[in-house]
Amino acid sequence: MSTTRRSFLATALAGGAASVMLARDLYAQEGGPIVIGHQVELTGGFASWGYWHDKAAKAAAKLINEGGGIAGRRLDLVTEDTESSPATGARKLRSLIQRNRAAFVTGSVHSGVMLASIPIATELKTVYFSTGEATEATGSRGTRYAFRSGTDTYALAAAGAPWAFNNLGKTWTMIFPDYAWGHSHHQEHKAVIERLGGKVHDPIAVPLDARDLLPYLTRIPQDTEVLFSVFFGAQSVAFYTQAKALGLEKTMRMYSVSGTMEAIAPEDMEGAAEGVVVVENFPRMLRFKDDEFHREHLRIMEVDPVHARETSSRRVYAKSHAWQAWENLFLLKRAIEVSGWRTKRNDPDVIRALEGMEVPNSLAHPQGAKLLRAQDHSGMIDCYISRIESNEYRVKHMVPRAELQAMLPPRVDFTTQAL
């Protein structure tokens, strides 16, 4: 049986069979629109990621509204730019909640912004999804109102480090920018490698503004088998280019996480990234998760299925993070509908619905099936370990979410907090 786009959407969105006209009727019957805020990095250091978070959220909102909205009510997505600054991000969160009356917020990928936002969201009793990797957001600094559907440094270490230990080498050196994101990855990976019986050399922390990395690269011990690097943006390009120039890849394996080359195409690095192994949340190439939902997601996001490059520009989809901006709206839609939410007074019901929520692989959740674990409000998802070959991200190993969950005991239990 052939599947038309309309019938596909209807099935995938479970209830999306309604036409736009029907949806209008439903809005009229059920009440006013539901406002969801999107706190996103449209400008500043994270703008290359924020562009995709914004595009993904808007596309998801459009899809939801085309499918009849949320519980028959139109979804109004209100977007605010954090300017990649915690101060601005926190202010914009207040603006979303207090000025724009956002009932829920899907938030920032910037660790500083999301950690500044969680206390405010909690105080204003508003469900807040962060999309960055700082472990604290769903750990020591998390609350009953804070959720994250993606991975943090704890999960990325649990997903990738054991495979890398078994397949790449036992003696590790870690090099990273001298700030919290890098240190957090170092601590989590070091713990896993040492637990497995490996050796981890002293870390090499590089100043944030360093572009000449030679003084740091020459400090890498000769017996290093795995060089684990975590950099961001221009410094990441500088790292791979200069490491390649030194020929480091000939004596050691290069290993990293998706954030290092998020929104960057290997082909733009002219071979410097060749052979690097990376943990991904969402495979960059369609063929490694080749299903109709992933395909349709890429079509809507207007990116090619191989390099995830935007068809109308040179931009590369920040795929391992921006899917959360898309999926968070669908998680909220599901929680609202399951809990029967009508007003802010019903927020505790939405939180209870989100805690432990399981969702299937679908157009609503193109990254794949997942569990939003009740205790730590963290997404348990499939992860992918890919190697860059011929400028393509080729998946070498998939870590199923059940396996990840087993390696990732919750460190907190938010369900004990009062609502």
Binding site: K92, R94, P119, E136, Y179, A205
Partner: protein, 324 residues
């Protein structure tokens, strides 16, 4: 009637409006603006610290963010790491900023003009990068978030910053006290010594004024004001971050001061409020709103070099029957 009398009357009206805001704004479903007004008051206080140095002593500082950051971290570390209550944490924040200013001031006040500006930036950068590195203490680039302790308890009644009215009134009270303190300071012999040093340090020295000592005192007081602003901002945001210690934040204080009026009492507050308002309204519709802020600054420097407050005072003085 004099310009001073008119300005005093308007200040009283402004104060009455600010005090009434928590009860008036909800009538228009505009509670959000209470938070923004609180932020304006804090930034106004911060701009006042830059103004004290630049407008009253003639020292252009691009390092006030350092003391703002010390105020923030004093509060955040006090609450989060030491479990301090509101008042001890606030005291720790201000004391940390004052102590830092006292030490930095010993070196900085020996220099003037661009050398002074550079050393203030250098101090700011040193501690900015230090704060980024000391993750166990400062939270690094992720910052330090915390739940604010209650402001006070009266029997069963607890005054909490979670209540927006309480938070706003606490910030307003400190801002009013700080500006009242500055008014007294500038009218005092020490304030006149500031002005003498600003106009000509050589002539001031000939009058028997210890120029370095006066500059140092001004530097420490300005550090205290910035520290108070930072401490209040930490409570307001429930967060401290090294990003606030970056010299760009100091630059904003200078811009607010220039736009509002250097050397005036309320000018920096007016500049901070105006540009916060511009930012708040424009940033929601245009992400490159800073271009407008830049244009406002250029127009101010060209057409009103004494800032809004200076231009206002000049306009009042030109009115018939008004004495300057």
């Amino acid at each position: 009637m004099s310009v001073t009398a008119i300005n005093r009357t308007l200040t009283a009206v402004l104060l009455a409006v600010l005090v009434a805001a928590p009860w008036v704004l909800p009538m228009f479903e505009a509670e959000f603006w209470l938070a923004i007004t609180a932020e304006m008051l804090i930034w106004g206080l911060f701009a006042a610290s830059a103004n004290l140095l630049f407008g009253h002593v003639g020292l252009l500082s691009f390092g006030q963010a350092l003391y703002f950051g010390f105020g923030m971290y004093g509060v955040a570390i006090g609450v989060d790491r030491f479990g301090l209550g509101f008042w001890p944490a606030l005291g720790l924040g201000i004391a940390a900023a004052v102590a830092m200013a006292a030490v930095a001031g010993v070196f900085a006040v020996r220099l003037t003009w661009h050398y002074f500006a550079i050393i203030t930036v250098v101090f700011s950068l040193i501690f900015y990068f230090l704060a980024l590195r000391l993750k166990p203490l400062t939270g690094g680039d992720d910052g330090l978030s915390f739940a604010p302790p209650p402001v006070a308890r009266f029997g069963d009644v607890t005054l909490s910053l979670g209540d927006e009215t309480v938070q706003y009134l606490v910030i307003l009270a400190f801002a009013v006290a700080a500006f009242a303190f500055q008014a007294r300071l500038y009218a005092s012999p020490l304030g006149r010594a500031f002005a003498a040093v600003r106009e000509s340090e050589r002539k001031a020295a000939l009058l028997g004024i210890d120029v370095l000592k006066v500059r140092w005192i001004a530097f420490v007081i300005a550090g205290g004001l910035a520290g108070l602003a930072g401490a209040l901002f930490a409570f307001y945001g429930r967060y401290a971050s090294a990003t606030y210690m970056y010299y760009v934040v100091s630059g904003e204080a200078v811009i607010w001061t220039i736009v509002g009026g250097t050397g005036t009492l309320l000018g920096p507050g007016i500049g901070a409020a105006l540009l916060t308002l511009v930012r708040e309204e424009l940033s929601t519709v245009w992400e490159h709103y800073l271009l407008v802020v830049g244009a406002v600054v250029i127009l101010t420097v060209v057409f009103a070099p004494r800032g809004i407050a200076g231009a206002w005072n000049a306009a009042l003085a030109r009115l018939p029957g008004v004495r300057s």
